[in-house]
Subunit: 251 residues, 2 copies
Amino acid sequence: MATGRTHRPATRSRGIPEATVARLPLYLRALTALSERSVPTVSSEELAAAAGVNSAKLRKDFSYLGSYGTRGVGYDVEYLVYQISRELGLTQDWPVVIVGIGNLGAALANYGGFASRGFRVAALIDADPAMAGKPVAGIPVQHTDDLEKIIDDNGVSIGVIATPAGAAQQVCDRLVAAGVTSILNFAPTVLSVPDGVDVRKVDLSIELQILAFHEQRKAGEEVTGESGAVVRAPKDSGKGPDGDVPAVMPA
Amino acid sequence: MATGRTHRPATRSRGIPEATVARLPLYLRALTALSERSVPTVSSEELAAAAGVNSAKLRKDFSYLGSYGTRGVGYDVEYLVYQISRELGLTQDWPVVIVGIGNLGAALANYGGFASRGFRVAALIDADPAMAGKPVAGIPVQHTDDLEKIIDDNGVSIGVIATPAGAAQQVCDRLVAAGVTSILNFAPTVLSVPDGVDVRKVDLSIELQILAFHEQRKAGEEVTGESGAVVRAPKDSGKGPDGDVPAVMPA
DNA sequence: ATGTCTTTGTGAACGCGTGCACAAAGATGG
DNA sequence: CCATCTTTGTGCACGCGTTCACAAAGACAT
């Protein structure tokens, strides 16, 4: 997490809870799919199932946006798509820069999910002079030296950091100084930013570690299991870690 | 989110709250850095700062693991690294398969953060026959047809899905049927899995949409203290979205 | 051994998020 | 126009997570 505005301590933005905001994109995706199939209306139950949430939660979420449903019928799909898009600020086009065009940065540049949701990759930036000018995803990579100018010229307020961990804080500082106020960080580092700047982080190895924790717990319940009891077959042929690694011993 | 075990409704695994589990990797990273600098002990205050969290929260988190600190001194770095690693199941080596070797899948295969944390990429799988045999990150890509055999031969219990959205559920079903019980999903879809299977999702466009929401809110606050009216500074030279896109109109 | 000083570990209070359950609203049919 | 039936919107209760604040524990100096 960043030092600045990351978890937004109870700062219920304009009355919409953070947890709800995080689910709106989910609803939007489900609604867009329905819209493409020309489904006119949808009930909270159906939509909740499509989004993978509880229907009561969904209704409460929508209640923060206003009363957009019709009792006895459900929600108008097109209207709801519009309302959520507007609420999320997706009726506008957000220019985004990606800094650090390695494997991940290139993958992000090629990712279709951005453009389809109102985000436009305005520039790709990398510190390697050898990359300069080389096109990635049809966009020429520019050098870090011009970072400030690029941000300014394009009116960018959202930056994506996909650099190695060591460079992330420095890049972050420059982005912020140049006027960026929202950062999506893929580097495995805690970024420190001033108040007023939002940081969200995506950390691949952390996600795996959380999975490993639960996986280990499942394995530990194998026979002992009170409820689930996986009871893996005899012999150590079962799924799971290959073996024990000594690791560091306690002091 | 997935239908199955994703949010784990209050199923405090072995007494350790989910929120704490999610922070352990963060602490571990900070501690590893200290360890590499041969720092012997660290106080909750220092470590909390390095991990970007509140020190009280950190102490409470550690209290779930046991009393590993020394009052008046702090925590033994090496010992804590060991304890957290063990708790997370990282003293074991977890074989992982990545399904869908497009831009993102390739980036994940090349990502160093996996190997350094006890995760080993056991296999890369893709549905494109043209990719078969081609090495990515030094590992030959295998065809989806052999998915079940690969899972079984390598004793894989953690799978990463980096396929297009359309293929994700099908791949997921096959992974689960083959014995995978933890899935990290990069495809923008809600996966449905049976009980006992954990799913974590990483959705790039959702993260950006959340940032856009806050960005829009900040813009709205510019001059007008709180409620509406964007009132951007004179001329539209400020940072921000390029312009309004009509989008869908309300019914 | 005793006192002081630092830092941990945790009891308690509070706030957010979730889910139940139901009343109100409106559509639909007779 | 009235009755019935479906589905929303929400009051309420509960539990998790966070934070404060402080007593207990131990290091360290004298």
